[in-house]
């Protein structure tokens, strides 16, 4: 199943796939044309402000093939493997040639450490080719003061974006950018609805969503809408629907393994999937209020929420998706969600849903022996056979 011929035959999808597979192409071209490119680490960096400043936001991603020469010097073993590989590209000079600055949000504790380490590296080894780093320190607990503080955090990042842009960013520019981003999310939600109908596979969805990290928003929105128009006619995938919760999936390899086993990933809660189009910036609010509201009140993430919040969030998301089962999958050293799992599992199973938990997984996923067989067993049992 994975990426089907009907998708490949769609010109818009093919374009998105090309961008997804050639992630440096558009940013490099835009940079050559004088557009500043801003790297983002973490899922809570406001695209709206970067775009309002006439810059291109791109997501930092890992190269699983790269030897971790620098990372092994600087990072302890407790950093998860994907973050380690991302760090390698930041400190070995790769990103210095691709981005003009790096914004890191406190989306997980690991990223906070990465920020502190990069800041310290700038201080103690200033000759290293590491882009300028800015940190975005949202508060995710939901109290009025935290909202007020988040408005301050938005203001601080606004000033940084202006410095990077080399000019003031007006409110008008902000609202225009916020609308672009909201439109993009709306297009992705159209695509999500088709996923839930079984017309778009999880792998196809990852490509459609992920391409947006490496191109202009308006162009992405247009392509996503075109794909959604076409996908309404794509055949419905006949496979048990599952929800994927856990580690970010920066490429389709794990989804391919799961979907090749005969399952359909109808949605997920990680940062390279459905979380991207979770909440709009409210254009009726002031800009900083709108930003604080959007980034503070998105669905509870696995990293920054209490167990009860995560149980409720997963129940909500799984219900919306109509998934029959949930795959929990976290990489080695990505521990926080492990504390949620027993309560989530209990709650989901009480509602008659299958759960399947895999923890301490090696990254990339093909390093785990017997994984494909495990998914095949799950698929078989969900289809009514015995696993």
């Amino acid at each position: 199943m994975t990426i089907r011929q009907c998708a490949l035959d769609c010109e818009a999808f093919a374009q998105l796939k090309h961008i997804y597979e050639n992630r440096e192409e558009i940013p490099a071209k835009m940079r050559a044309d004088g557009v500043k490119v801003i790297g983002k680490l973490g899922c809570d960096v406001p695209d709206e402000l970067i775009i309002a400043g006439g810059m291109l936001p791109v997501q930092i991603y890992a190269d699983p093939e790269k030897e971790l020469k620098e990372t092994n010097v600087y990072l302890e073993y407790a950093f998860d493997p994907m973050v380690r590989a991302q760090f390698e590209k930041i400190v070995d000079g790769t990103y210095a040639g691709q981005i003009d600055a790096l914004a890191i949000s406190n989306s997980t504790d690991v990223l906070i450490r990465i920020y502190l380490y990069l800041r310290e590296l700038h201080r103690v080894e200033p000759d290293k080719a590491i882009p300028e780093v800015e940190f975005i320190d949202w508060l995710f607990t939901r109290k009025p003061m935290h909202e007020a503080r988040n408005e301050l955090i938005a203001k601080i990042f606004w000033e940084t974006a202006e410095r990077w842009a080399g000019r003031n960013i007006t409110e008008g520019e902000f609202f225009e950018a916020a609308k672009l981003c909201n439109d993009n999310k709306a297009a992705l939600r159209r695509m999500q609805a088709l996923r839930c109908e079984g017309r778009i596979s999880g792998c196809e969805a990852l490509v459609i969503i992920g391409a947006g990290f490496f191109m202009e928003k308006a162009a992405h929105t247009e392509l996503v809408n075109t794909v959604a128009d076409a996908a309404a006619q794509w055949p419905v995938i006949d496979a048990p629907k599952v929800f994927f919760t856990g580690s970010n999936q920066e490429d389709t390899s794990l989804y391919e393994m799961i979907e090749n086993a005969g399952l359909l990933i109808a949605s997920e809660d990680h940062d390279w999937g459905a979380r991207v189009y979770d909440r709009d910036v409210n254009l009726d609010f002031t800009p900083v209020r709108g930003l604080a509201d959007c980034y503070m009140l998105r669905e509870f993430s696995g990293k920054k929420a209490f167990v009860s919040q995560r149980v409720a969030a997963l129940n909500r998301e799984v219900t919306q998706t109509g998934a029959e089962g949930v795959i929990f999958y976290t990489n080695q050293y990505e521990e926080a969600a492990s504390w949620d799992y027993p309560s989530q599992k209990e709650s989901l199973e009480a509602a008659g849903r299958r759960t399947f938990g895999l923890f301490k997984m090696l990254w990339p996923c093909d390093r785990n022996e017997g994984l494909a067989d495990a998914f095949a067993g799950l698929a078989k049992s969900m289809k009514g056979g015995t696993d």
Partner: protein
């Protein structure tokens, strides 16, 4: 802190103040249990929670890390992590912070062994808390605390955490008087707001009233107590050989630190200082053949204090420094409390984790401390499974070694005896002393 098994193990301690603190702690805990049994609210706090507020409000509390150490010393870890596993949780995560949650799964915690008549839970088990408070200083802590609170039927409360944008290298020179220079102003503002919210929550929950005069008194008592630790740290630093080692100071200081803000704790700190000073005056040495002065970075090995003494006879290598006394000396005092007591407390609690876990604050302080204490080698334990304690070991090692202090890094777990192998770790330290510390000191002396 881990006194029970510690004294039964080979660790040799000599201070009256340590024994006194242990006895006090036992009596205090027994009294706390009575108060809880009588129906008072009882709070369970993570170590980075500003306990001063609860102290001022006379709300009984226990600190998570202190209790984890008691459980570790009582060798409960194996049982507790079995309980976690049985309940579907991982048993290899967050051992330090998850101990009390694991204990809350133990049906025998408050029971007596019918055959031996002994209490089955550590110190008879943790009384049932009605309040559980933590800060959001790592991704896991709030989850663990919420689970713990749920198991006990306690109210769960969290305090937010912010990250320093401004990081002047000399925090230890600024924190006592010039904290407005040390921190970003908005972080202090936010922390004061958090304190006010905490007070509101506690007043509502317990029906008790927060009294600012009482709070100031608590803050002043803490200044007094920590002032004695400063004098003690300075005294030990200047003595060659040292009168006491970390085995003496960790327990004596830590137990009183959790009682900070009481008259007893301030007096205990004074008595501790006076006792050590008397040893100095008598010319007593902890290890008469002291040749090499070692610094221990990281949490204490609560399950095996004797480890610290293994190297004394063989090499004359003495562990003289841990963060426990030195943090008391450098991180807690806030002068001029009366100007704005809540802001003074904010200026204490928001820095506490960062002083230890944030580069460059940790590395710069360790250099200054290594210098003051005339350190010859640094042994640095990086915990296996704690993201909060991932604190830039590369930068710490680099900073210290560039200043001429050899560093040994090893991985271990401070409370999980399953992961502790004294022979292997001892072998590493032996080798480190032989191949790095001794030659380094020899060459420094030749240079002199």
């Amino acid at each position: 802190m881990a006194e029970e098994k510690v004294s039964k193990s080979a660790a040799v301690k000599k201070l009256q103040a340590t024994a006194e603190a242990s006895a006090y702690q036992k009596a205090w805990f027994a009294d706390l249990k009575k108060r809880v049994e009588a129906g008072e609210d009882f709070a369970y706090l993570n170590a980075d929670v500003p306990l001063e507020v609860l102290r001022a409000m006379d709300i009984p509390f226990v600190v998570n890390q202190w209790w984890a150490a008691i459980c570790g010393a009582k060798r409960m870890t194996r049982k507790y992590f079995g309980l976690l596993r049985d309940a579907g949780y991982r048993d290899d995560l967050c051992s330090y912070c998850a101990t009390a949650f694991a204990e809350s799964l133990d049906p025998d915690d408050h029971k007596i062994d019918p055959e031996t008549g002994k209490e089955l839970g550590p110190w008879g088990g943790l009384p049932t808390p009605t309040i559980a408070i933590t800060r959001l200083t790592c991704d896991c802590q709030s989850k663990i605390f919420e689970l713990f609170a749920k198991n006990h039927g306690a109210d769960f409360y969290v305090i937010e955490n912010t990250i320093a944008r401004k990081a002047p290298l000399n925090w230890f020179e600024l924190d006592e008087d010039r904290w407005e220079e040390l921190y970003d102003e908005d972080r202090l503002d936010a922390a004061v707001w958090e304190l006010k919210e905490l007070i509101k929550f506690l007043e509502h929950k317990t029906g008790k009233t927060f009294d600012m005069n009482k709070f100031k008194e608590v803050m002043e008592l803490i200044n007094e107590q920590e002032g004695w630790y400063k004098k003690l740290r300075d005294l030990i630093a200047e003595c060659h050989p040292v009168p006491v080692t970390v085995v003496d100071t960790i327990n004596a200081v830590m137990q009183a630190q959790w009682q900070r803000g009481t008259r007893w704790a301030a007096d205990h700190a004074r008595r501790l200082y006076e006792e050590v000073k008397a040893l100095v005056d008598k010319g007593e040495a902890a290890v008469p053949n002291e040749k090499y002065r070692l610094m221990w970075l990281g949490r204490g090995i609560w399950t095996d204090f004797a480890f610290y003494q293994r190297f004394e006879q063989k090499y004359g290598a003495v562990f003289i420094w841990t963060m426990y006394l030195a943090m008391g000396a450098d991180a807690y005092i806030r002068n001029h409390v009366e100007k704005d007591p809540l802001r003074a407390l904010a200026a204490r609690y928001i820095g506490m984790e960062d002083f230890l876990h944030m580069p460059p604050w940790n590395s710069q302080w360790y250099i200054q401390q290594a210098k003051q204490n005339d350190i010859d080698g640094v042994v640095y334990m990086v915990p296996e499974n704690c993201m909060q304690a991932v604190e830039g070991s590369y930068f710490i090692k680099k900073a210290l070694e560039e200043k001429g202090y050899p560093v040994l890094i090893f991985k271990a777990d401070p409370v999980d005896e399953r992961k502790w192998n004294a022979e292997t770790m001892g072998g590493l330290v032996d080798k480190f002393i032989e191949t790095r510390v001794i030659p380094n000191k020899d060459s420094k002396e030749k240079e002199k």
